[in-house]
Amino acid sequence: MAIDALEAKLRPPADVLAPYPSKLITLASGEQMVVREARLADAGALLGTVYPLLGVPKDYYDIVAARMYSEILGWFRYRVANEFVIVGAIDGVIAGIVTSRHVKAGLGMSLHTLTIKRGLRVGAQLFAAKMEHHIDYLGEDEVHIVAESPIGFKRWMIEYELEDRSAMYPDLRHELGGVPTFTLTRKLWEAVKPVKCTGVRPVPAELLKTADKLIMPDEYVQLPGWKRGA
């Protein structure tokens, strides 16, 4: 896309972010999930993966899918500052997606986590991957996090024992909906990392290749009976 003067005005200022190094996680089923940073060229497959979930109210997939759809589109069209997307793929098929944003030096803002393949804590692994990116690779000291679903709240706020700083900073609000913000600090991350974050690096070349061109899932447990293209 040619970046003319008007388009340049529409784009938020962007920093050059350190890349997230890909890793490989063997899930409990024995399936191998490549976790890598998404590229703009992946946007079509990512949007196509999220789209069918817009109509699934169960477990709040609808709201999270709608938010994530707009975040991925915003990232693809350069409408969100410093956003990154990390994807988990098994044999190239998208198993889960996370979105997040670097706000400024030292501060990150977690956006959404969406599990397509349920039952293997794919979402938990990808959430840990995005925290790893924020703190270990982008060098941030704090990540602001909110949940938009009860499962999300149980998983992140409760399991990570995130700090509720809303009383300390009543004005501090996450940019998603203004919900009181929870914070993952570097100290907390160092404490939970050994039990929350895993993955083998480097990913063997042949496995990394399987995730080069992302494949949209044909079926979703969230959509019984639904089949892509049918």
Binding site: T26, L27, A28, G30, K58, G119, L120, A128, V195
Partner: protein, 399 residues
């Protein structure tokens, strides 16, 4: 005991997350399923007694009088109905009381329906609610939870008998293999020993819940229901039910001290052993006659311990049997063919009935392909209430 009492209808829903449904609807689903299996919904009017197994609707769902609610939901007035609460053994206790109602001559047909909807609260809150069955002053108020107890218990067993964490994972692999083939199972995913015990990511993928117990040594928190219809096989009403009954050959319960620290040896589960001995005696069989068993494995250590107490293995040897694949389908004594609580899930109040439904499916030869035990004659279920302090053992026979 002279009464011949059999199961002529079974019902079950898929365990998992039913938190958007009302508890009574969840139980009614399986109860209706049981009537359809038994021959039709018209058979509801033949029921003389309804017993509902549930552990904690008052706390999970802010709902009481569940049995009365079920009667109205199913249009079964004026049938007598009561709730049976015996912790996680509520389901099997309800079956035992149903058996007693028929044996006493006060009923010929009993519907036993059981269910729990726990996912309306967080996992931590569910653990807290379940922990209220522990001794209030000596255990609960000290912060003990069931996973905490089971973790200490597992550690003790490991130190005494040389079992390893990998042995626990082997039980989980077997249970998940079975659960993956069971249409009613909460977690329908096989897991591999490499991924959950041996591999580089195992520590996170199979994270500690209460060391040395990990996620895959612990049951998930599940919602669900199950139901059975019991009939006096010698009453005229028995003829109304077309399916060949699966006979309850033995059913017995036993209790142990509420406080675990009052037991001489915490690794000895007297209530399991005594209830099993009584059930064997009533059925006129022994451990060698049992073709398959559903053993209460909220934590996989219980599957191992129970299998020793009921006489399948010598004390301290059950994990060696698992290593030798003796408890797999096709092995010497298949255990938890349904996936057990580990993979099928554990909606606490429903579990005892669910175990019996699995035995009936197996004895009828109706289990899914790859999960059916070859030509079984007797099935055993052990349903565990409290920390082993109130246990019901049931033995079913295919005549």
């Amino acid at each position: 005991m002279s009464a011949r009492i059999g199961i002529v209808g079974i019902g079950h829903c898929r365990f998992g997350n039913s938190s958007e449904y009302d508890l009574v609807d969840v139980i009614a689903y399986s109860a209706n399923d049981a009537f359809r299996d038994a021959g039709g919904l018209h058979l509801r009017k033949e029921v003389d007694q309804v017993l509902v197994g549930n552990m904690a609707a008052g706390m999970f769902n802010h709902q009481t009088s569940v049995a009365s609610a079920l009667i109205s939901r199913m249009d079964m007035e004026p049938c007598p109905a009561e709730l049976v609460e015996n912790g996680p053994a509520s389901g099997a206790s309800a079956i035992r009381l149903g058996y007693m109602a028929i044996a006493s001559g006060m009923a010929d047909v009993v519907l036993v329906a059981a269910g729990e909807v726990m996912r309306v609260v967080s996992g931590w809150e569910a653990t807290n609610i379940v922990a209220t069955m522990a001794h209030t002053e000596a255990e609960y108020n000290m912060g003990l939870t069931l996973p905490g107890f089971a973790g200490m218990f597992t550690r003790l067993y490991m130190e005494k008998y040389g079992m390893t964490e990998r042995d626990l994972a082997l039980v989980a692999v077997k249970d998940h293999d079975n659960g993956a083939k069971n249409i009613y199972s909460h977690v329908q995913l096989p897991v591999t020993i490499e991924a959950i015990a041996d591999g580089e990511n195992a520590n996170v993928v199979n994270n500690y819940v209460a060391e040395p117990l990990r996620m895959y040594s612990t049951c998930p928190i599940s919602d669900g229901s199950a139901a059975v219809i019991l009939v006096n096989m010698d009453s005229p009403k028995a003829k109304l039910f077309p399916k060949k009954p699966i006979r309850i050959a033995g059913i017995a319960s036993a209790t142990d001290t509420h406080c675990v620290h009052n037991r001489k040896d915490p690794l000895v589960l007297d209530a399991v052993r005594i209830s099993a001995e009584k059930a064997y005696k009533m059925a006129g069989v022994g451990p060698k006659d049992i073709s398959l068993a559903e053993l209460h494995d909220a934590f996989v250590i219980f599957e191992l311990l129970n299998s020793e107490e009921v006489g399948f293995f010598e004390r301290g040897k059950s994990f060696l049997g698992v290593r030798n694949r003796e408890t797999e389908i096709g092995g010497r004594i298949p255990i938890n063919t349904s996936g057990g609580l580990k993979a099928k899930g554990h909606p606490v109040g429903a579990t005892g009935v669910s175990q019996v439904v699995e035995l009936v499916r197996q004895l009828r030869g109706e289990a899914e392909e790859g999960r059916q035990v070859k030509d079984p004659k007797y099935g055993m279920a052990v349903n565990f209430g409290g920390f082993g302090n109130n246990v019901v053992t049931t033995i079913l026979a295919k005549d």
